[in-house]
């Protein structure tokens, strides 16, 4: 049991001050911008909720929001099952274990912009292996001009980048299952499917929760990889929320709209994080 002691706040204070400095003060600025119309530092008008009304009716927000949800959904739908399959295929013992662990971790440690660069190169029809293969198979593949190809390339890139994370999480979940469970299943002559459904999957519940949360959150704020790969194009086919916001804030210096956009974006994140956090602590409390 933890003891109740409010002096512990002294230990947390540095973190609180630092994170407040880099989170609360900027957030206040955003709130400030979102309710004012600013021409220059001395001329500003209070406009109330006007920016919110405008941004909520703005097709830029709608389009990128829809695109973002479809994208995050596709990411989860592919990466979670694939990650489980890979985790189940991990070798149990021997040299294969560290070997597979190291190779699996590799894409996770690649800098995000290099991930973009890698796929930018390999998808090109003239100098990239995949682009060249697809084109010589007679498919007219070009991620720079065809929205569908761009979309698929961004998705495959994300699968390449992050499926390992789901796999590694599931692997550590699987390792914590005691051998007696499997022995009991063998005595009962359980099928592979039954072993998976009634022994492995329930044990994976906790790690899958974390995996889904991380993948949802990180795909929801994806910026660097599509920015390097397609620059959000062709057109706006792969422009996701973060990029729309960045364009609005720094490209057009559209302060009021960008600030209102930021807050709506942040509230969505806050809501989803809270749902996952509640589920996580609920599991912790149950043991």
């Amino acid at each position: 049991m933890k003891t109740y002691n409010n002096k512990a706040w002294w230990l947390v204070l540095p973190v609180f001050v630092l994170v407040a400095f880099s989170a609360i003060i900027p957030m206040m600025t955003v709130v400030n911008y979102s309710v004012q119309d600013i021409f220059d530092p001395s001329t500003r008008y209070f406009v109330g909720t006007e920016w919110y009304r405008e941004i909520l009716a703005d097709p830029r927000l709608h389009d990128s929001l829809v695109r973002q949800f479809i994208y995050s959904f596709c990411v989860l739908a592919i990466e979670v099952p694939l990650g489980i399959v890979v985790a189940l295929s991990m070798p149990r013992r021997g040299l294969g274990v560290p070997f597979s662990l190291i190779l699996l971790s590799l894409p996770l440690l690649v800098p995000w912009n290099v991930v973009g660069t890698i796929w930018q190169i390999i998808g090109r029809e003239d100098i990239g292996l995949y682009g060249w293969i697809l084109n010589s198979l007679g498919l007219d593949y070009n991620y720079a001009s065809n929205p569908r190809d761009a979309w698929i390339t961004v998705l495959v890139m994300d699968v390449w980048h992050w499926t390992s994370l789901v796999a590694l999480l599931c692997y550590s979940g699987l390792r914590s299952i005691p051998d007696v469970y499997y022995q009991a299943a063998r005595i009962d002559r359980a099928s592979h499917w039954a072993v998976f459904r009634f022994i492995q999957l329930p044990k994976l519940k906790n790690v899958l929760l974390i995996a889904v949360m991380l993948r949802f959150m990180d795909s929801f704020m994806i910026y660097t990889e599509p920015f390097v790969l397609t620059g959000g194009g062709p057109g706006t086919a792969t422009t996701f929320l973060s990029q729309t916001l960045t364009q609005m804030a720094l490209g057009q210096f559209d302060l009021g709209r960008a600030a209102a956009f930021s807050l709506i974006y942040f509230l969505i994140i806050l809501l989803v994080t809270w749902v996952f956090y509640t589920a996580m602590t609920h599991n912790d409390d149950k043991g």
């Binding site: 933890k2 109740y4 002691n5 409010n6 002096k7 512990a8 706040w9 947390v12 540095p14 973190v15 630092l18 994170v19 880099s22 989170a23 003060i25 900027p26 957030m27 600025t29 955003v30 911008y33 295929s89 070798p91 597979s100 662990l101 190291i102 190779l103 699996l104 971790s105 590799l106 894409p107 996770l108 440690l109 690649v110 800098p111 995000w112 912009n113 290099v114 660069t117 890698i118 190169i121 390999i122 292996l129 390449w160 390992s164 994370l165 590694l168 999480l169 550590s172 979940g173 959150m217 704020m221 920015f227 973060s242 960045t246 804030a249 720094l250 974006y265 994140i269 989803v272 956090y277």
Partner: protein, 266 residues
């Protein structure tokens, strides 16, 4: 069954490795060979691309810039996170759960949301285009990350150790530095690595808060387009060099990768 499993694993590892191999392959080719047609390995291997990176100031300075803000950030994150993680793992206090949740929201918050205020904040205090600005900005997600990971490691140390030490007459700072920190040394290493990694790979904030003097490698790499087109060979070589920190320590963290990414919750 066993064979099918190995086959799945093999195919997946191939899927992982081929793109990385392609990058390494290209980094050893001259631009003429890259554009002259596809070859599975460099026919005339050259180190010219790497020479460009290690001799041209814009390239190697951008690596040094990245390294400087990344190490600053790592140091700051660890220093403030260590005591806080101890507090979360040992005590209950007013608002502890809310605080812990609030930290998580900062890890989850999209950097794009903070872009505009950061840009203005750091310009206003005259830190724009310095490594310090980026180091502080990256604290936004790295401090919460460090607290969460360290809390996971600290909670696995039995509380009896603290109590015994206090009975033996240790004061808190002495106990914390002499006894407790050495016990969670692997945890500190893993945390340091993940702070390093997440700061190293971040592009949006690093690029926005710098322009010339402190330009990081991630931003430099997005600007290899010149009048004669993209310098593919140098770009590939820069990518390979940016990969090195991760590869250098991958062997040591192999069992902790999942834990680090999952904020110590696995």
């Amino acid at each position: 069954m066993r064979l099918r499993k190995s086959l799945v694993m093999l195919v997946y590892l191939l899927f992982v490795l081929v793109p990385i191999y392609w990058l390494v392959n290209m980094s050893f080719k001259s631009n003429r060979e890259i554009l002259g047609g596809l070859s599975l390995w460099p026919t005339a291997p050259t180190l010219d691309n790497y020479r460009v990176i290690f001799t041209e100031p814009t390239w190697y300075m951008s690596y040094l810039n990245s390294l400087s803000y990344v190490s600053m950030n790592m140091l700051i994150s660890l220093l403030v996170a260590l005591p806080a993680a101890y507090a979360f793992s040992r005590y209950r206090f007013l608002g502890d759960r809310h605080m812990f949740f609030w930290l998580l929201t900062n890890r989850m918050a999209p950097p794009a949301v903070f872009l505009l205020p950061f840009f203005q904040l750091y310009s206003a205090v005259g830190l724009f285009d310095t490594p310090i600005a980026v180091a502080l900005a990256h604290c936004l997600f790295n401090v919460p990350l460090a607290v969460w990971i360290l809390e996971g490691f600290m909670s696995s140390v039995p509380k009896e150790i603290d109590e015994t030490a206090y009975i033996d007459g240790y004061t808190f700072p002495k106990f914390f530095i002499r006894i407790f920190l050495p016990m969670i040394r692997p945890g500190i290493g893993v945390t340091a690595f993940f702070c390093f990694m997440f700061s190293w790979v971040e592009l949006l904030l690093a690029r926005t808060l710098t322009s010339v003097d402190a330009k990081p490698i991630v931003a430099q790499m997005t600007r290899t387009v010149s009048a004669s087109g993209i310098d593919w060979g140098v770009l590939a070589a820069a990518g390979v060099v940016a990969l090195l920190p991760g590869i250098a320590v991958i062997y040591f963290v192999r069992n902790h990768v999942a834990k680090g990414f999952a904020l110590g919750r696995v």
